[in-house]
């Protein structure tokens, strides 16, 4: 088992203005699960793209099984036994599982034979999947299985997985881990990219940590604490959120039987959602993506109006109030999609500050915009939330995702909301910035605001929330105090009608 499968020596790749990978060397042994750990922008993607033949290194060499390995393109990488499951799936929704798998093959066998192969692999590795199901009807977890099976059919020696658990429920994660462990036991090496530290400690034999394009360390995750790993990744110790103050006050936001039809063909209807949030409290709403998160935010922000009496803010019915009126009343929100929803990409940060703060910050008088004041507000957000940008006049679309996210969240927090609704507040944000955003949410709650955090990151929800509920197909589970919950219960709350098949690992 100690044979080296893939060896990287001095890999370097520079893009204009940034060295994405600087002299990176490490080995992956046959059959090991090797974690590649790092913040956003640390160079993980560039590194695996070089291994998968999508990007050519400027310098350095790779050997695979002792022979020089220079993949010119992904096809060559696959031929050498290197496969990859991407974070974003490339599947045709209107085609069946088998048809999708066939599309990725050089010489696909007859559908019937292929279906049999798919069944064999899926039974062998505990990944239940019907080859004739249409992909459009599959859950995110099942779609990922299609991608994995597509790779496994090529009998890879090395399987690269890019943040595979970001779309899965805890139960689905367990199924996936069982599969990966079995693969590893059979001698397939796995390069597992993630920034979820607990996962890596549970699954991986070794971990290589990247920071700013350089290798920081290769270590054995089981021997380190998550905190140690996190600090290696970030390069400095970052503050964990301070323990919350549980004394909560009056109910600020009350949602009663909120029901809305789906907006368009791809939306989710909201079905009888009821909850309330008190001053000083953080309510965490979990759930797998696409179960009504966006729709709930739109109903709370005022983008979509609901039946009278369904949304009550500080005792006043605001269900028919437009977004501006809700902001005036103290209900602020930050949608998940930063570009095009929370912010206008082509507009400057000053203009994007004006986008929600026009009235609360008094940036407009008599209909005319006070641009000097708008600039000061944008500068304050940039300074207080450490947004890295050349100037407040820079277009929002030119910022990195994490920096724009800090701006969007900061913009709302600085307006001192009474109730703040955020969807995926730390999506794609590096660990230090995510910690800062979470801390600022908790600080806001400590000052007496009621906060609703909608997120798919359970660790995040456990960290910041006082009470937890899960969205599933537009319904909200019962809401329970976080202190009473364990992972299994959370999984069941999230799962609802989802695919709950338990793995049968052969």
């Amino acid at each position: 088992m100690a044979d080296t499968l893939l060896s990287l020596r001095g890999l370097t790749k520079a893009y204009p203005g940034v060295v994405a990978n600087d002299d990176i060397s490490f080995d992956i042994r046959v059959g090991e699960v090797h974690a590649l750990l790092g913040e956003n922008g640390a160079g993980k993607s560039t590194l695996v793209k070089m291994i998968y033949g999508l990007v050519k290194p400027d310098k350095g060499e790779m050997t695979l099984g002792g022979a020089p390995y220079v993949p010119a393109e992904p096809k060559a990488a696959r031929a050498s036994g290197v496969s990859m499951v991407f974070q974003h799936f490339s599947l045709f929704e209107a085609l069946s599982v088998a048809e999708n798998v066939a599309l990725g093959m050089e010489n696909p066998p007859k559908t019937r034979d292929l279906a049999k192969q798919i069944r064999d692999v899926s039974e062998n590795y505990g990944l239940p999947l019907d080859p004739f199901r249409i992909v459009g009807t599959l859950s995110a977890g099942e779609r990922q299985r299609v991608e994995i099976i597509r790779c496994l059919l090529q009998k890879p020696r090395l399987l690269i997985m890019d943040e595979p658990t970001s779309v899965l429920t805890p139960q689905e994660v367990e199924i996936l881990f069982a599969t990966l462990r079995k693969l590893s036991a059979e001698g397939t090496a796995i390069l597992y990219i993630s920034h979820k530290l607990e996962e890596i400690r549970a699954l991986c034999d070794h971990a290589t940590i990247l920071r700013l394009g350089k290798k920081v360390a290769t270590c054995t995750p089981a021997d380190s604490t998550a905190r140690e790993l996190g600090e290696l990744m970030v390069g400095s110790s970052f503050a964990s959120p301070v323990a919350r103050n549980h004394a909560s006050g009056a109910v600020l936001l009350e949602v009663q039987n909120l029901t809305l039809p789906a907006p368009g063909a791809f939306g989710t209807p909201l079905r009888g959602i009821s909850f309330s949030v008190k001053a000083g409290e953080v309510l965490g709403l979990g759930g797998v993506a696409g179960n009504g998160q966006d729709e709930l935010l739109a109903a709370l922000s005022g983008e979509r109006l609901s039946d009278p009496g369904s949304v009550t803010l500080k005792g006043t019915d605001v269900s028919r109030a437009a977004p501006m009126a809700r902001r005036d009343a103290g209900l602020l929100s930050a949608p998940e999609e930063r570009l095009g929803h929370a912010a206008a990409p082509a507009m400057s940060l000053i203009e994007n500050g004006l986008l929600t703060a026009a009235r609360r910050e008094g940036l407009v008088s008599g209909g005319f915009v006070n641009w000097a004041k708008a600039r000061l507000f944008a500068e304050k957000v940039i300074k207080d939330f450490d947004v890295r940008t050349p100037s407040p006049g820079t277009a929002a679309g030119a910022l990195s995702g994490g920096n724009l996210q800090k701006f969007v969240i900061g913009r709302e927090i600085l307006q001192r909301p009474d109730v703040l609704v955020v969807n995926q507040p730390t999506w794609g944000v590096d660990a230090a910035a995510a910690a800062a955003i979470r801390q600022s949410l908790l600080d806001l709650a400590a000052k007496g605001a009621a906060i609703i955090v909608i997120s798919q990151d359970l660790d995040e929800l456990m960290e910041v929330s006082d009470r937890f509920g899960a969205l599933n197909e537009g319904r909200l589970s019962t809401i329970r105090p976080v202190a009473e919950l364990n992972m299994e219960q959370i999984g069941l709350m999230m799962g609802g009608a989802h695919d709950m098949e338990v793995a049968h690992v052969a």
């Binding site: 050519k56 095009g340 929803h341 206008a344 203009e351 929600t356 005319f368």
Partner: protein, 361 residues
């Protein structure tokens, strides 16, 4: 291998120089075309761009024409540009222009031959209202039923043309016109006549209104929250809705404003340079203004310059037909090139060229 790479931010330099570059390229390729037609290219270019303003013999006539032609183009294009900024595509300014002319002229003719000085302001208001009402049809249909404003506004142009033909032969026909189609001539109706304000300049109330519209639109877009909302709606409709901008309100605002300005332009034209309602009174200003709006990159100051440039090519084009015997179609081609090259060079505002090996990222 040449490829285009998106710039993180639109280039300011390119935004500024693309119109000049487009004019230059039009001159080169247009000159080439004139040469192929067997006409002296340099002379043709000079006649189009220089002679209308400075020719010793013709300039006295053609110089005032510059403002006469540019006025309605600018006025209409300003109205259209606000809609285009918000992603609302009013293609039917020609129809709104005709309806403005009919309503405004109708108002004046109804009180013929009054000498009350209020008649002209009343006509302007009636003209603007006529254009506004015509633009409200696509607006209401879009808000209420989600129809496409491009199709509705465009088709209403043909309805307006049919109405124009009808009123010039029936309702508004000059009773003393010996049966010829066409209304009374406003040049013989002093209180309602939109004459030259300064002799020999071509300046009339419509040109003044166009300049005022430029200033108004500039202030609206750069200083006022409604202008910001219009731009926001165009840049990111979802973000606009999140911000609290009502899409219906923006549709009514932009189509209404565009219609009102086009209608006013129609009235100024019919009561001034055109003089009367005739079957073919409209001369395509409403469509050319779309080109002007884009040539001026939807920026009020840009539209002012683009309107003047477009007017120049019209007058110069006519002059070139007269003096060199250039075919009319070649002049239209020449004007088309201007837009073509502008759109082509515009790519460099948002993209830069990379020459080198492709790399899949």
């Amino acid at each position: 291998m040449i490829r285009l790479e998106r710039r993180p931010q639109p280039s300011r330099l390119w935004t500024a120089i693309t119109p000049l570059l487009a004019v230059l390229l039009t001159m080169i390729v247009g000159g080439l075309m004139f040469a192929l037609l067997g006409k002296p290219p340099l002379e043709a270019i000079r006649i189009i761009f220089w002679d209308p303003l400075f020719h010793p013999q013709f300039a006295a006539y053609s110089r005032p024409q510059l403002l006469v032609k540019a006025g309605p183009l600018i006025l209409i294009a300003i109205g259209l540009s606000l809609g285009f900024r918000a992603g609302i595509w009013n293609i039917g300014a020609e129809g709104q222009y005709i309806m403005g002319a009919i309503c405004g002229a109708g108002m004046g003719l109804a009180f013929y031959p009054t000498t009350n000085p209020l008649i002209f302001p009343a006509m302007v208001i009636a003209g603007a209202l006529g254009g506004w009402a015509w633009a409200m049809i696509p607006a209401v249909l879009k808000v209420r039923f989600g129809t496409n404003e491009i199709l509705v506004s465009l088709m209403l142009v043909y309805v307006a043309e049919a109405l124009l033909a009808s009123v010039s032969q029936k309702l508004l026909r000059n009773p003393e016109g010996m049966g010829f189609p066409g209304s009374r001539n406003f040049q013989q109706y002093p209180a309602a006549h939109n004459g030259e304000l300064l002799p020999g300049t071509g300046m009339h109330w419509g040109v003044l209104a166009a300049f005022m519209a430029v200033i108004f639109a500039h202030v609206l877009l750069t200083r006022h929250i409604q202008g910001f909302n219009i731009r926001l709606t165009g840049e990111a409709p979802r973000a606009a809705r999140f911000s609290g901008v009502s899409p219906a309100r923006i549709i009514f605002l932009c189509l209404g404003f565009g219609g009102a300005l086009a209608g006013a332009a129609g009235l100024f034209e019919v009561s001034g340079p055109a003089g009367q309602i005739t079957i073919d009174f409209n001369s395509g200003y409403g469509f050319t203004a779309i080109i002007v709006a884009f040539l001026g990159r939807l920026n009020p100051i840009g539209i002012l310059l683009a309107g003047l440039l477009m007017a120049l090519t019209y007058i110069g084009g006519e002059l070139a037909q007269l003096m060199l015997g250039l075919p009319g179609a070649s002049i239209q081609l020449f004007q088309g090139m201007l837009l073509f090259f502008l759109l082509a060079t515009d790519v460099f505002t948002n993209f830069r060229i990379r020459i080198g090996k492709t790399e899949v990222a």
